[in-house]
Symmetry: C2
């Protein structure tokens, strides 16, 4: 017997994700009869996904209902689950920001001014859920999972699970080592985008020796010859293994992307550490390739949506995705228990992480709830060099977000290893806040400014002169 | 009635400090009849201070006894108080280190490889005290107070008070503002070298408005015209006031020296922020001046020691010093209560600092013990941008010290804002560890090294080549 649920999807215009969700629900018997409410702010994409989902369900003969709305509250009303993949700004905006930082001497981003728009959106959604559907689970599936889930958990009583793809790096390790994932026992706890493989068994026996053997006998050959087909294929790269050797545990998924700044200073370093041809996902080679693939996918979706005779099933396939959203909904709804990788308030799970910081962990989920596994503590070196600095960065971002203190954004810019002078940080921050699309952010981060302090005022004038000089050089 | 005590002085060769100590004891009636045991590893300096102290006491007609020893254990035996000012390496060693880092592109030091020799010495002393004089107080008066006192408190049961001069910056503020220090109520808690004036009253009324008025009406004039006579005269500098404006509280004493790296990148920045002629204490102009003054002082001491007819009192004076050691001994021994600025395990005093981290605080001291005042919490911005990063740095230094993990020294070198490449950090660290006088440190920090990892090994070869190339350029 099935227990139909109502699922609101915020940011439904992501066709691959949304159609994958439909597929997974169709393949989950216990959720037959469920209703999905698509919500997006882009009416065209909303129409497209709505029609494709309907056709796909019909092709599959599935018992599913759909609704669509431009109104977020409508997507929340009576929902049992809310899945948010919304990104307030998107790829093209991020690219314009990178263009600006590049003009100020930063390589591929280089400084972090936080996620004002996404944090505000996430907080709005969680507040709405408190009011409209307080018993529903929010399955937060868009970034920044770590900062955003911590913020939402602190500021609201919404029930929140954060999800990310990074932990699938364990599958990549197994693929390269020739291990069947079903025979692997593993945990990779930490913070989102900062997780470490601290339990790793194969058929119940230690599996790190298998990895060490591969490194010793095949590592150099792999690093010399491997050509990545996906931009994110860095799990077995020289840089990742170097971090393993420094810390004693494998960094998983996105972890090596945010560590060890000296691996990320330029395209040569990127390629040396993360391989050919992309140098990892965060390069001027990788990103256009990645975005072009997304755009191509969108074009295919549009083509199929426009052709009523095209088979949606042929396009999207009929195998389960690797996504966790639907299995988690099934576990909570129908008691189909399973282990999942989730982001939740730490509350004693990963030793040394404060209770109210959202950490990433393994959890057993069934109809009785979400039951985190408390792993062996992470090595102190990881805590001190990686985890704690990321906790403080997050706290600074949330404090800046709450207070609108512009000087905290400046402080963060100044702490970038790529910032070499005060003037560089001041001018790049000013330009980023002045760019199109950042009007509300600039208004939010209004003070204190240099102009409020006679001690700083001179500096501000000098910064302006320095900016002028930079402009004159061109 | 007096209660004579026995005081062991480790590192007694510092004549100014040691003779000041004698003077303060002479001026403290309750300590008449006490014995001071001078201990130093330099026999000549030990003899000099020993004879001068004896002559000074005789000139003053004081009831004091003296002993001297090259054996540390002898200085501890039966002591009620142990004062350590020992510095395992000294100014000239520090200068040789700065010469090396300068060759690798760092300005005035630039990277921190920790205080291996001083930490080991402090730990040895505290362990000896546990065994030899477990009821004595160690008054730790040499750096690194913060890291060393935290280490000793965690690893031993010795009774420890850490002292520093930084808080006298409050006197400097009052002097410039024309306030009588006796009418000022203040507290400046935090971490040693990282303290903030969070209570500041004059005649019981808020005193920050007096400072603000001075900044508004006289700041620019002061910054334009003030010529420092002491290298450490930066309390009212533009840089310090700029930090006040960013954080809302005045950073006191050494605090502005370790903050805001962009104020410290070169001599022009130093002078702009910390004034003429020195640019603060940490410049190539200030340090030779400071060390020359010390050397001149040592020469005077030697001259007076060699001239039995010279008056020691005429040289050292007869007024109390500003030092806290003797008043604290008097408070604990004779119940002459007073407020002091001490470094002790935080245990709930400064909100947000872990219990087992040594923080700096005001404390009332009398014969019943040391009673910290719990101040108003520091602003969250200070905790997130200043205090917590310093806590993690300290934890990394202590973890590296305990484990001998060389890669943690490298990590710290890599986090310096002045480090611009991996090769730069690797080569400067290698050269620092290979320098004369660092043999035991190099042996202690043996692994893990790049040679243990095939992923890192290539990098090590490249670093060697880069070092070669740097050498070739000269």
């Amino acid at each position: 017997m099935s227990k139909p649920v109502r699922i609101g999807v915020i940011g439904a215009g992501s066709a691959t994700f949304s159609l994958g969700l439909v597929k997974d629900i169709i393949l989950t018997k216990g959720l037959a009869g469920s209703e999905i409410v698509w919500m997006d702010i882009n009416a065209d994409r909303l129409d497209g996904i709505s029609r494709l989902a309907q056709r796909y369900a019909e092709e599959m003969g599935a018992d599913l209902r759909f609704a669509k709305t431009l109104d977020r509250e409508e997507a929340l009303r009576d929902s049992d689950f809310v899945i948010s993949t919304a990104d307030a700004k998107g790829h093209h905006h991020a690219r314009r920001m990178r263009d600006i930082t590049a003009r100020h001497g930063y390589y591929y981003g280089g400084i972090d001014i936080g996620s004002f728009y996404n944090l505000r959106l996430m907080l709005d959604i969680a507040h709405d859920m408190e009011r409209i559907c307080p018993d529903a689970w929010l399955i937060q599936s868009g970034n920044p999972v770590y900062e955003g889930c911590t913020l939402m958990n602190r500021e609201t009583n919404a029930k929140i699970i954060g999800l990310c793809h990074g932990h699938y790096g364990v599958h990549e390790i197994c693929r390269v080592l020739g291990l069947e994932i079903s025979r692997v026992t593993w945990q990779a706890p930490g913070l989102n985008h900062q997780i470490w493989l601290n339990h790793f068994l194969y058929d119940g026996e230690p599996a790190y020796p298998i990895l060490d053997e591969w490194i010793a006998t095949q590592g150099e050959e792999y690093w010399r010859t491997h050509q990545a087909e996906r931009t994110h294929d860095i799990q077995m790269s020289r840089g990742t293994i170097a971090q393993y050797h420094l810390y004693g545990l494998m960094p998983i998924g996105d972890t090596p992307r945010g560590n060890s700044w000296w691996m990320h200073t330029d395209i040569e370093s990127k390629k040396r550490w993360f391989g050919e041809p992309f140098g990892g996902p965060d390069t001027e080679i990788a990103r256009p390739f990645y975005v072009a693939n997304l755009d191509q996918r969108l074009a295919e979706v549009a083509r199929i949506a426009a052709d009523p005779k095209a088979s949606v099933a042929a396009f999207i396939g009929t195998d389960r995705t690797k996504e966790q959203q639907v299995p988690i909904i099934d576990a909570l709804t129908n008691n189909i228990g399973g282990f999942f990788q989730v982001n939740m308030p730490n509350r004693g799970v990963v030793a040394g992480i404060p209770d109210d910081v959202v950490s990433e962990m393994s959890a057993w989920i069934d109809a009785t709830g979400i039951h985190p596994l408390r792993p062996t503590p992470l090595p102190k070196k990881i805590m001190l060099e990686q985890t704690w600095p990321k906790i403080i960065e997050m706290e600074r971002e949330l404090e800046a977000f709450k207070t609108g203190d512009r000087s905290m954004l400046l402080f963060n810019a100044l702490t970038s290893p790529q910032t070499h002078s005060y003037e560089q940080a001041v001018t790049v921050l000013d330009e980023l806040l002045a760019m199109e699309g950042h009007e509300e952010m600039a208004a939010h981060f209004a003070g204190p400014s240099a102009a409020d302090s006679p001690a700083l005022r001179v500096e501000a004038r000098e910064a302006a002169r320095a900016a002028q000089a930079v402009g004159d050089d061109k």
